[in-house]
């Protein structure tokens, strides 16, 4: 299944795309600034099409199978969203066009801000962050800016539960905070005693993922938020798990001050093999002036005859611009289309059925896989692959073996507090039939783990490629050809 690289396929003098002859005279070139060689491959159009078509066949994808990837919300990406984003009136807009010539685009940005605010209960939103982690960085930076402008520069400690995504501590450090982990208790909630110890005047805030990465709605959430607020800290919400809350609860009402959304998780825009995503950030009134910008705004209100004129507005005390232009507009169009189609009730059903699917899987697997936190979960749950009678089988083995059953493995070894974690998130777009096949595969693998563990250690075998020599990759580092 090995494929030649484009460099191996290259043949001298070949040309896959021709440009028209110049219709102007040749300008004088700066001779001392010319490159001598341009070592790019030389391929025909067909070479290129075949190469990438064949490469694509080596990928697993939502369009070919089920991704029970905890924390990633790999739901179906509707095709109409792709089509809409390709309308020339969206895809062919220069970012610096006069606002009068992009009123349609600005309307979408403005309404998308409003939609996110309405869903989350927040008062303001910025769509400029390029990704979830980028939104998170922006939000944490807003907290830093908030404390700074209040001259609270002592507030340098950011609390982060030990179950949190790795981006949380990384974002905090990027914003100049010191990270202080907070423990999770035996029911999977924030340990309030652990929290209390850090509620002092060095506290900048806390970053909470809710439902948390165990898939659980934190039963101590309201109290924890209250404690942090009492101590003068702000509460950051990691929106990665927002798929469970659409229409179920509004983060702002729960007490969060600022939160990011992952449009490519919650709003069905595709993951693209690792991006581009889009990461909006929303906040309450007291943080709105700090939002990254510019944001879409009504710059001339509607009149009886005319619709409003939309334009750009930089929040007053903005943390600044976080990207070259105004965010991932193309992705936002897809998310907007999705929201248009689902509407109020459809969005709530997303959370309901995502949660139903997760609990259905959990209840069908918990008799054969150890379940560390046994209570109704939200949109995902975590198993702990530790069987006393099959001690050499690890989460990784189960994950790899699932590929032989034509499933993508769940997220594994995360959250860190569950040592042999398999984190399973089915999303609402998967049918009962698919879940039943997955259950069957998982149960059959559990049986194999006890009876023929070598099947798991050797897995995958039905895939185009087998397990990789990761050590060699890092040691003999070859990252270009």
């Amino acid at each position: 299944r090995e494929q030649k690289t484009i460099f191996e396929l290259s043949s001298e003098g070949r040309n896959g795309f021709r440009f028209p002859k110049s219709d102007v005279k040749a300008a004088e070139l700066p001779n001392d600034l010319m490159r001598e060689t341009l070592p790019l491959p030389e391929l025909s159009e067909m070479d290129v099409v075949r190469h990438y078509t064949r490469l694509s066949a080596l990928n697993y994808s939502v369009d070919t199978g089920f991704y029970p990837l905890g924390s990633c919300t790999m739901k179906y990406n509707p095709k109409i969203c792709e089509k809409a984003a390709r309308f020339s009136g969206f895809s062919q807009l220069h970012p610096l066009q006069p606002v009068e010539t992009v009123q349609g685009a600005l309307l979408i940005l403005y309404e998308m801000q409003e939609i996110l605010q309405e869903i989350s209960g927040f008062h303001a939103a910025s769509l400029t962050p390029a990704a979830g982690a980028h939104g998170e960085f922006s939000g944490v930076k807003m907290i830093a800016a908030y404390h700074n402008q209040r001259d609270n520069s002592r507030r340098k400690v950011m609390l982060i539960p030990d179950s949190a995504h790795g981006t949380n501590p990384a974002s905090s450090v990027m914003c100049g905070f010191r990270v202080q982990p907070v423990n999770t208790n035996e029911r999977g909630n924030i340990d309030l005693k652990s929290l209390a110890a850090y509620c002092n005047d060095e506290l900048a805030g806390i970053m909470i993922t809710n439902p948390n990465t165990l898939g659980l709605f934190d039963e101590n959430l309201i109290e924890a938020i209250d404690m942090v607020h009492q101590a003068g800290g702000l509460v950051y919400g990691d929106g990665a798990n927002m798929n469970a809350l659409l229409g179920i609860a509004k983060p702002a009402e729960l007490g969060f001050d600022v939160m990011h959304f992952n449009l490519h998780k919650t709003f069905a825009t595709p993951h693209g093999g690792g991006g581009p995503g889009a990461g909006a950030v929303c906040c309450t009134e007291r943080l709105r002036d700090f939002l990254p910008g510019p944001i879409a705004a009504v710059i001339e209100p509607a009149t009886d005859e005319l619709p409003p004129l939309y334009g750009w507005k930089m929040p007053e005390k903005s943390i600044g611009q976080v990207g070259s232009f105004w965010g991932h507009f193309d992705v936002i169009v897809k998310a907007y289309t999705y929201c248009l189609m689902l509407g109020r009730d459809g969005l709530k059903r997303v959370a309901e059925f995502a949660t139903l699917n997760a609990n259905y899987l959990m209840s069908a697997l918990k008799d054969v896989y150890p379940l560390p936190y046994d209570r109704i979960c939200m949109h995902e749950f975590v198993l702990d692959v530790k069987w006393p009678d099959a001690p050499d089988v690890r989460a990784l083995d189960v994950a790899k073996r699932l590929m032989d059953y034509d499933f993508h493995p769940p997220t594994n070894y995360f959250p860190l507090i569950v040592h042999e974690a398999l984190m399973i998130e089915p999303t609402e777009t998967e049918s009962k039939q698919t879940l039943d096949l997955f259950i069957e595969a998982m149960r059959s693998i559990a049986k194999e783990a006890h009876e023929q563990p070598e099947l798991l250690h050797d897995a995958p075998v039905n895939t185009p490629f087998g397990r990789m020599d990761e050590v060699k990759a890092a040691k003999d580092l070859k990252i270009t050809e």
Binding site: G16, D23, L340
Partner: protein, 454 residues
């Protein structure tokens, strides 16, 4: 239900299997007073309705396909070959997840490995990563790298006033006030003063990195080879932000001695899309690679002896290093990196040379024509690529309004970004600006609209 496959019967069966009565029982953990808030949104609509509505909204916009476009300034209107959308519309590419499971992700992984190779070759560098969000954040990430390279001991990052003002702004958002880091940007005085020479004097022993743009924000080209030596003599890192199309023709940053090369990959087949998503290029010398943030794909073998690719050096990343990571980057621009790789493979050596040459020649043709229009004055005095600044006899916004009436999207009003540059337009020309369109543009600029019918 839209995109939810469950029938009522299936739902009930599943509730029974879980052992609960109703859907609401799933949410008992949520305090009652917060549960099921009122959401004040419209009702959903069908695909037919949504697509009609979106079509109408899109038609309220003026697509650059329907005008003559002279806007650049960091986003360029190039032709996108039909092959590209055909390939990146393949579900196996665009609906795939980050390739953490290499056994079933070789399509993405090999695609990115080839992308890295192409970017390294294009920039003349030894290594490249799998992308950053865009040109601006790539600049900021270069700054972060420089900070770490000197373990925070050098606090100054010197930035050329020829760097795109947005990129400088984003570097400030990321870095300013972080552990005392200071970003120094000499004030813009005149175009003639934006030179490597004028920047050289500001490099000191405090300087962690010097950042220039090539071609710079005003289209200017300089050979930075000597400048690189000066930077290195002061012990700092030298970073260049590039336009990848220009590198089809021009001496590479690698040849000039850059340590880091960043840039905006949008011109490589990525649609303008009102500014995003674009593609942050990031290449570096080999000895810096372990400090580069973002994903990196490396070659290896699988247990069947096949050559294969994996995400490598993952120990740098946030999901392993957490607070010790140098970046929080998680998703990147995978699909856009693939787009750029397809674009570069398709054009290849000759195609990229050709498009670069067309941009070069047409921009110079336009500048020459404009320089002959009374009242207009081309400010660039050195070689330039893609774009050039023109002093105009009236505010650019007025001229642009007039141009728009004639179906022309004029160049950037530079005063929007650099207030001292009143009445100066930054004009960009690509292979898509025909001689005829350039001539029309000049005709309107010169006030000679007799033959015009628009």
């Amino acid at each position: 239900m839209m995109f939810i496959p469950h029938s009522d019967a299936e739902r009930d069966e599943m509730l029974a299997a879980i052992g609960i009565q109703s859907m609401d029982d799933l949410f008992e953990a949520i305090p009652k007073r917060y549960r099921f808030p009122k959401i004040n949104l419209h009702e959903g609509m069908t695909e037919i309705e949504a697509s009609a509505q979106l079509k109408e909204i899109a038609e309220a916009d003026l697509s650059v396909e329907d005008v003559s476009c002279f806007l650049g300034a960091g986003a360029y209107h190039h032709y996108i070959p039909a092959v590209i959308d055909n390939l990146i519309s393949r579900g196996e590419f665009y609906t795939a997840y980050t390739p953490y499971q290499p056994e079933i992700s070789q399509g993405t992984l090999q695609g990115i490995f080839e992308y890295q190779s192409l970017i390294a070759r294009l920039t003349g560098m030894e290594a490249a990563n799998a992308s950053h969000y865009d040109g601006a954040t790539a600049c900021a990430e270069a700054g972060i790298l420089a900070y770490h390279q000197f373990r925070g001991k050098r606090k100054k990052i010197l930035v050329s006033p020829g760097l795109h003002p947005h990129y400088a702004a984003v570097m400030q958002t990321y870095l300013e006030n972080f552990d005392g880091v200071h970003i120094e940007i000499p004030e813009f005085k005149s175009l003639d003063s934006v030179t490597p020479q004028n920047l050289a004097d500001l490099i000191d022993e405090e300087t962690a990195m010097v950042m220039v743009q090539y071609p710079d924000f005003f289209g200017q080209l300089f050979d930075y080879s000597e400048f690189a030596e000066i930077v290195h003599a002061k012990g700092a890192l030298f970073c260049m932000s590039v336009n990848p199309i220009a590198l089809g023709l021009l001496k590479t940053p690698g040849e000039m001695g850059a340590d880091i090369v960043v840039g905006e990959g949008q011109p490589l087949g990525i649609p303008l899309s009102l500014g995003g998503p674009y593609l942050g290029l990031f290449a570096a010398k080999k000895d810096l690679i372990r400090k580069v943030s973002g994903r990196i794909v490396g070659e290896t073998v699988d247990n069947r002896g096949q050559k294969a690719y994996v995400l490598t050096l993952t120990a740098r990343e946030q999901h392993i290093r957490r607070e010790k990571a140098t970046s929080n980057i998680c998703s990147n621009q995978g699909l856009n990196a693939l787009t750029a790789a397809i674009y570069l493979s398709l054009l290849g050596k000759k195609g990229l040379q050709d498009v670069a040459r067309l941009c070069y020649d047409k921009a110079h043709y336009a500048a020459e024509r404009i320089s002959k229009i009374p009242g207009f004055h081309v400010l660039n005095s050195t070689p330039f690529f893609h774009e050039f600044a023109v002093a105009c006899p009236a505010p650019v916004s007025e001229i642009n309004e007039h141009l728009l009436h004639h179906g022309i999207l004029g160049g950037l009003d530079l005063s929007r970004m650099i207030p001292s540059l009143q009445n100066v337009m930054l004009i960009a020309v690509t292979e898509l600006n025909s001689k005829e369109a350039i001539d029309d543009f000049c005709r309107i600029l010169s006030g000679d609209e007799n033959d015009d019918e628009s």
